[in-house]
């Protein structure tokens, strides 16, 4: 896929929605140039409102984090170590330094916390396996916000357009239905964002990690938490270094795993309260 230029899956028309094929994003920071084309394309195509501008002082990143009005976010990670087998400085004694860019996006979890939490049925799973918010159904209860283990979905504040509802990446479901590739992948000039069939992408991602490791990127790894209760994500990442540096939880858990103990505690409290009240009126009347 990489190197195929405009022949790649990123530019090809497809019928994944009609064929019910699981698709995904593979985002690879080792070839990202930090151009933010994905961020701009996402905002423009999806008509995501302007949510203000502040200088963060954090490298070249003034976006900060994903949210209701930011569905793609290019991170600028600065680390005091070498990037692969790069030559560090012109003279000895210079500190190693690397600058890594990663375009963050909704992970479209296999077990999605937001989808499980949504009380209105507004959040659904599509034919291609992505997680979609139906904006006309969402009543803005805010429960998905605290149920996402990645902090992706958020409620849009007033006075922005469509405020009060929860928003996140739609995986360009509208485009995919028409056989088009998501806007961010379409515009990516280096194919750091690759869109395609989930199985193909997983295989490609493993090859890519192997290739980087062989070429001196000792800390290259795949971020796809298949071992946790999230059971894998449909938008996975290649990382250089630890997930923490990218604001990604190393072991994300879907909050529904906490339901059992919490409900047992609730039922026990309910029964104890009934017994205490009945006892109070039986013995003190």
């Amino acid at each position: 896929m990489i190197g195929e230029g405009i022949q790649s899956t990123n530019q090809r028309r497809h019928s994944y929605v009609q064929d019910r094929v699981e698709v995904g994003f593979f985002t690879d920071p080792s070839v990202c140039i930090g151009c933010k084309a994905c961020e701009v394309a996402c905002k423009e195509w999806n008509e995501v409102p302007d949510d203000g501008f502040t200088w963060s002082g954090n490298s070249y990143d003034n976006t900060g984090h994903l949210g209701a009005s930011t569905w793609r976010h290019v991170m600028f990670v600065e680390q005091d170590r070498q990037k692969g087998n790069q030559i560090v400085g012109s003279t000895n004694g210079e500190d190693p330094f690397r600058w890594v860019f990663l375009s963050d996006v909704c992970k479209h979890c296999e077990e999605a916390g937001c989808l499980e939490a949504c009380p209105t049925g507004s959040i659904v799973r599509t034919e291609v396996g992505s997680v979609l918010v139906q904006h006309d159904v969402c009543n803005g209860c805010g429960y998905c916000v605290v149920s996402c283990p990645f902090g992706v979905i958020d409620r849009r504040p007033s006075p922005l357009p469509d405020h009060g509802g929860a928003f996140k990446c739609t995986f360009c479901y509208d485009r995919q239905k028409s056989g088009l590739v998501p806007a961010c992948a379409k515009v990516c000039p280096t194919e750091s964002i690759v869109f395609g069939r989930l199985d193909d992408l997983r295989a490609h991602a493993h090859e890519r990690v192997q290739h980087l490791k062989e070429n001196g990127y000792a800390d290259a790894r795949l971020y796809d938490p298949t071992e946790t209760s999230v059971r894998g994500i449909h938008a996975f990442f290649l990382l250089l270094g630890e997930p923490e540096a990218y604001g990604l939880p190393p072991k994300p858990q879907v909050p529904t795993i906490y339901l059992k103990t919490a409900w047992i505690s609730a039922f026990a409290t309910a029964i104890a309260s009934i017994i205490a009240t009945l006892a109070a009126f039986a013995f003190f009347s």
Binding site: C141, S265, S285
Partner: protein, 324 residues
């Protein structure tokens, strides 16, 4: 304020710490990030809920447990049962839905809450529990009032009495869930300080609801031994929970409870409805014990939401919580 001293001060800071932060120039990334995670950005999202939610937890708890008291007192204290059902209906079928709808981002779509039934969503379960509670409590109160005022004497009155019993029973069952599910609601989330205490939260919210219901009924004039016993019971359980909360620490993962001002809100709340309510009741200051308990259960609920905001904004808490 720009003086030569200020410039010297900045130079000292730059020399000593290697970085100077100021308004608009929070150079977390210069040259290497010094904040945890990605420039200290939150990993999970803090709750967007505002003041309506802790207030709803408070009134929902009172309403639910009032229905339980109404059921238990119906046999011997009809007057108390009537008052308790009034409290249940006003707090649970009027105030609670209003607060919940106010908190929505799109209040006009509140009916979408009943669009689906999802047992794996505590929010969905809560919407159904609150609806079922209202559906039992309102007719229960009407039947009880008609019976107590002898509006339809004879056979209809007997039927009303039976109906009041059945509806009160239903309201009591859903009432216990209404008072406790809120603990599940915030316990089954991605917020570390909440999910680490998912066993404590339903016990705390439910028992605080029971004690608050008893306290309100005492304050409106029902000074009976049974309510006094419930006051002791609830305050004793809350005292035990205060101890548990301070023993069951998880380091950085739940430091929003132990190292932040927000934790003090919870602790002040727990002291008011735990040990202080217990002591006041022991020395016979019953109205003061009731007031202390009510204030404590409101304050501690405000505290739990505030803790969620701090904990959800703290990336280190999320990383640390993965060990538990």
């Amino acid at each position: 304020m720009s003086t030569e001293q200020r410039l010297d001060q900045l130079r000292d800071e730059a020399y000593g710490k290697g970085v100077v932060a100021g308004r608009g120039v929070d150079v977390a990334g210069g040259p290497i990030p010094r904040k945890p995670g990605y420039y200290g950005e939150p990993v999970v999202r803090p709750p967007v809920w505002t003041w309506e939610v802790p207030l709803y937890f408070f009134f929902g708890g009172i309403a639910g447990m009032s229905a339980v008291i109404a059921l238990a007192s119906g046999f011997h204290h009809v007057d108390l049962a009537r008052t308790a059902m009034w409290v249940a209906v006003i707090a649970g079928a009027v105030i609670s839905p209003i607060l919940l709808i106010m908190d929505l981002g799109r209040p006009h779509l509140f009916l979408n809450m009943l669009r689906v039934f999802k047992h794996r969503s505590a929010m969905s379960m809560g919407a159904w529990i609150l609806s079922a509670f209202g559906a039992f409590a309102v007719p229960g109160l009407i039947a009880l009032e008609l019976h107590a005022r002898q509006i339809f004497p004879g056979t209809p009155d007997q039927l009303l009495r039976i109906a009041a019993g059945i509806f009160t029973f239903g309201a009591a069952i859903f009432g216990t869930l209404l008072a406790t599910y809120t603990g599940v609601l915030i316990g089954a989330t991605a917020i570390p300080a909440w999910f680490l205490h998912r066993t404590l939260l339903p016990i705390h919210f439910g028992t605080a609801g029971l004690g608050s219901a008893a306290a309100i009924l005492e304050l409106v004039g029902h000074r009976i031994a049974a309510l006094n016993f419930l006051g002791y019971y609830a305050a004793a359980v809350e005292t035990a929970l205060l101890v548990w909360l301070n023993v069951n620490k998880h380091g950085a993962a739940d430091r929003a409870i132990h190292q932040h001002g927000t934790g003090w809100i919870i602790r002040i709340g727990e002291i008011l409805n735990g040990p202080l309510a217990l002591v006041l009741r022991f020395f016979g200051f019953i109205p003061w014990a009731a007031i202390s308990f009510l204030a404590g259960s409101l304050v501690s609920r405000v505290g739990w939401i505030a803790v969620g905001k701090v904990s959800g904004s703290d990336p280190e808490s999320v990383f640390a919580a993965e060990r538990y």
